[in-house]
């Protein structure tokens, strides 16, 4: 019996891959229902046309940009400790971008027209066009950077990293500008969003990298090498806290400026968050779970100094950020234009399935990549370190 069990035993890794493939298949079914069927299967209405897939797209590309920034610390800005997480970071940056692309294609009504029309009939006054343009270049830079890191071409990695860093800023702030340049929605309009998106990318990227790195070691039941653990804990204790603090500061002024003097449109939108239909999500998920609890936990609790602590904090931040993106997209749209009550939107099962499939795509590529690609940096042993130091001394 045991022999039979051993013979047909499937490793948990393949069960995991199978589960992710099943979610992707469900996503494919949902896609077919949406694009081949004749019924409207999205919860979006003409008053709230942009739904949860847009916010999922934002969540993923924000994370990708943030990961790019964090990984640049190592081989671009020469903070050498961060080279330890460079390969994993850049790889995650690529796959989160791909998951984001999947989400936005599923949200668009006619995605098969996207590629050709963006080239044949470009509108240079449209932030969407510029965003697509920059994100595509960004993707190319990321792939070059990743290959250079894999083959240890440090100069190429550095230049590709610089290119990725600059295009990431361009692409990501343009994403903020898609919303920021819509004058019709006072809650979004203005320079706040392009700037805020760049800032929140740092939060998102740091949290995601911490979460995925620790989760990978935990799932594989391996102990985290001390150098990496120290770096990850430091990222949580210092970087994440700093970025969270700045986000809290930004939000305080966003709230005050949206309420002060009842600016039309803005006031109604902000009130929907503070004391309206979105208030539970806002206070519980965005503010408490996403910002305040991880911020004070990392800042004041000694237990947060372990990898478990930063893991938990980054998980909370990621949940908060996902809800925050959703609320950002919805809040801008639900304020009444012709008077009357708030418009309503709740995602349908089809939309949730598509969101799940975007997450599954990200995890699937990561799981396969983690197995096949050498994502771990070789940590030099003490002997090798001394030798390297001797060499540098000799050279000088």
């Amino acid at each position: 019996m045991t022999g039979l069990y051993e013979k047909y035993r499937v490793s948990p890794y393949y069960i995991w891959l199978g589960f992710l493939c099943a979610v992707l298949l469900l996503g494919a079914y949902a896609t077919a229902v949406r694009f081949l069927g004749h019924e409207e299967v999205f919860g979006a209405t003409n008053l709230v046309p942009l739904g949860i897939l847009i916010s999922t797209y934002i969540f993923f590309v924000v994370t990708s940009t943030g990961l790019c920034f964090i990984t640049c610390f190592g081989h671009v800005f020469r903070l050498h400790r961060y080279e330890l997480i460079a390969k994993r970071g850049v790889f995650l940056s690529i796959i989160t971008l791909l998951a984001g692309f999947l989400a936005i294609c599923l949200e668009t009504e006619r995605p098969w027209r996207l590629a050709s029309l963006f080239i044949v009939s470009p509108n240079f006054t449209a932030p969407i066009w510029w965003m697509a343009f920059f994100y595509n270049i960004y993707l190319v830079f990321l792939v070059i950077e990743f290959c250079a890191l894999l083959f240890e071409k440090s100069v190429l990695a550095r230049f590709a990293g610089i290119g990725g860093f600059l295009t990431a800023i361009a692409a990501h702030s343009t994403l903020g500008a898609i919303f920021g340049l819509i004058k019709a929605k006072p809650f979004w309009a203005g320079p706040f969003l392009p700037i805020y998106f760049i800032l929140s990318a740092l939060v998102s990227g740091t949290a995601f990298l911490i979460f995925m790195t620790i989760a990978t070691y935990r799932v594989q039941r391996r102990s985290i090498p001390t150098e990496i653990e120290e770096l990850i804990v430091e990222m949580g204790k210092k970087l994440l806290v700093l970025f969270l603090g700045i986000v809290i500061f930004f939000w305080i002024w966003k709230v005050i400026s949206s309420l002060y003097g009842h600016p039309p449109g803005k006031y109604e939108a902000m009130m929907s968050l503070i004391a309206g239909p979105l208030s539970l999500r806002f206070w519980l998920f965005e503010i408490l779970i996403g910002l305040l609890i991880p911020f004070f936990f990392l800042l004041f609790f000694p237990k947060a100094k372990s990898s478990k602590g930063v893991f938990l904090a980054s998980l909370l931040v990621l949940i908060g950020l996902f809800v925050s993106r959703f609320d950002l997209v919805i809040t801008g749209q639900i304020a009444p234009v012709w008077g009357g009550p708030y418009a309503s939107y709740s995602p349908t099962l089809i939309e949730w399935t598509m969101v799940a499939s975007a997450i599954a795509l990200c995890l699937l590529i990561y799981s396969i990549g983690e197995k096949l690609l050498p994502l771990e940096e070789k940590i030099p042993t003490e002997g090798a370190k001394e030798k390297a130091e001797d060499n540098t001394e000799d050279a000088s």
Partner: protein, 202 residues
């Protein structure tokens, strides 16, 4: 030949809220179920016995500065140079829905069958054939008048010169080309506690 600048005047003193314009538009343009290109906002004003129902027919304003046009990534929507009409090319639209969000009057919607953005185009096919838009043609009280602003001696420009007219949400700097005679202050958007019957929700 000088280019035309088509515009519309709606005399709210004549509007009886019969929705004929909305129905005529639906029939003329084959507008799908659940979507409208023109509708009549309604609001009850005052308390009994001094009560009145105010009407505000709304449609695409064909703005001179169309802020819904700029964010379209593929030039699927544009303002025609020859007559100032803002149109959507359904063969180019990718359905990103950004124009629907960007219109401050919420006059764009998604065609659930073609899966592209759609809106009032002043019945451009009728205008090119020398006819008037369907809503104007159908209005039983002749509350809607359609004409060319560049025809300086025409009846349309004379009407606008003789009667005080207002436009909607001028604060956005869009310079809408639909003018309202006798616009009621109670129909101004963002009015506190206001509740205007919105066809798309009812």
């Amino acid at each position: 030949m000088t280019p035309k600048r088509y515009a519309m005047v709606i005399d709210l003193n004549r509007c009886i809220g019969c929705d004929t314009c909305a129905v005529a538009c639906k029939m003329e343009n084959d507008v799908p179920l659940g979507v409208w290109r023109i509708w009549v906002n309604q609001k009850e004003k005052g308390t009994y016995p001094h009560v009145r129902r105010a009407y505000l027919p709304v449609l695409c304003n064909h703005c001179e500065n169309p802020i819904c046009v700029y964010p379209c990534p593929v030039k699927a929507t544009y303002r025609r140079k020859e007559d100032g009409i803002v149109v959507v090319d359904p063969h180019l639209c990718v359905g990103c829905k950004i124009c629907i969000v960007a219109c401050p009057y919420q006059m764009r919607s998604l065609d659930p069958i073609k899966r592209v953005a759609q809106k009032c185009n002043f019945c451009v096919h009728r205008i090119e054939a020398g006819l008037r838009p369907a809503c104007v043609e159908a209005c039983p009280t002749m509350a809607m008048v359609f004409g060319d602003l560049n025809d300086k001696n025409g009846p349309f420009v004379r009407l606008l010169a003789e009667r005080p007219a207002q436009r909607l949400k001028m604060s956005y700097g869009t310079y809408p080309q639909v003018y309202y005679i006798g616009k009621d202050v109670s129909l101004i958007p963002f009015e506190k506690g206001g509740s205007i019957y919105d066809k798309r929700e009812g």
